[in-house]
């Protein structure tokens, strides 16, 4: 199977976003993203998707839980 530069970019993109690529792979991905609208749009989308998932999935601690945790303090095994 032959794969084009966009397939290669798709393969590198998650690690590009995670900043875990080698220098050579990083440069390769960056060069392609500079030239390719199709992949650049997908790069921006993936970056905003990650932020969006992180923020929408975050739920604050329910009120009252902190008090319950405070009450667990000062455990004395022999008391």
């Amino acid at each position: 199977m032959t794969t084009g530069p966009c397939d290669r970019c798709e393969e590198l993109l998650q690690d590009f976003l995670d900043r875990t690529l080698s220098d050579a792979e990083w440069a390769e991905a960056e060069r392609h993203l500079d030239d390719c609208d199709y992949c650049r749009r997908r790069y921006r989308f993936e970056a905003s998707l990650r932020r969006y998932v992180r923020t929408t999935a975050a739920e604050r601690m329910p009120p009252g839980l902190m008090d319950k945790l405070q009450q667990l303090r000062g455990y004395h095994p022999t008391a």
Partner: protein, 193 residues
Amino acid sequence: MREPEPTEARRIAAEERDRARFEEEALALADQVYRVARRLVGTREEAEDLVQETYARAFRSWRSYTPGTNMRAWLLRILTNLNVDRGRRSQRAPQTQSLEETDYYLANKLASHVGEEALEEEAVVERLSQDAVVNALSELPPQFRDVVVLVDIGEFTYADAAQILDIPIGTVMSRLHRGRRALKAKLAEEALP
């Protein structure tokens, strides 16, 4: 009963200070610990129980924490172990193999709905509702969900996630990649029928 020796009294007082400092540091992380817990289990009640059990155990075994190391990771390790022990990880996940598409799958599907250009807009992700995100996460198989939640929601490093889950870093990476692909396939299925 004999009064403790002055040096013994000082030792006890110092230990109480260390313990109080530990407890305060741990409690300051409770919101972040809850945020991860909430996405690892099915309901808010389960998340609350899990966080309470975690802190009960942490406060009991505070001496095994090494000061200066990552306390949030230390707490999450207790939490994920308790979660596995109690068999409470929500298991409504069906076979995921068929749900794994390529990395661009969701972007492509979204582009076919809103147009290629709109894909670049920051707000395009809002087409995916909060419910869709939450459901998609909860439907991931537990092994994948643990890693995706720790790294993408808890913002732990690969190395921290590996330590928390007691798996090799390579396993973290492969589960993360597959988990993210499965998450995007679920999101496409939920939000873009």
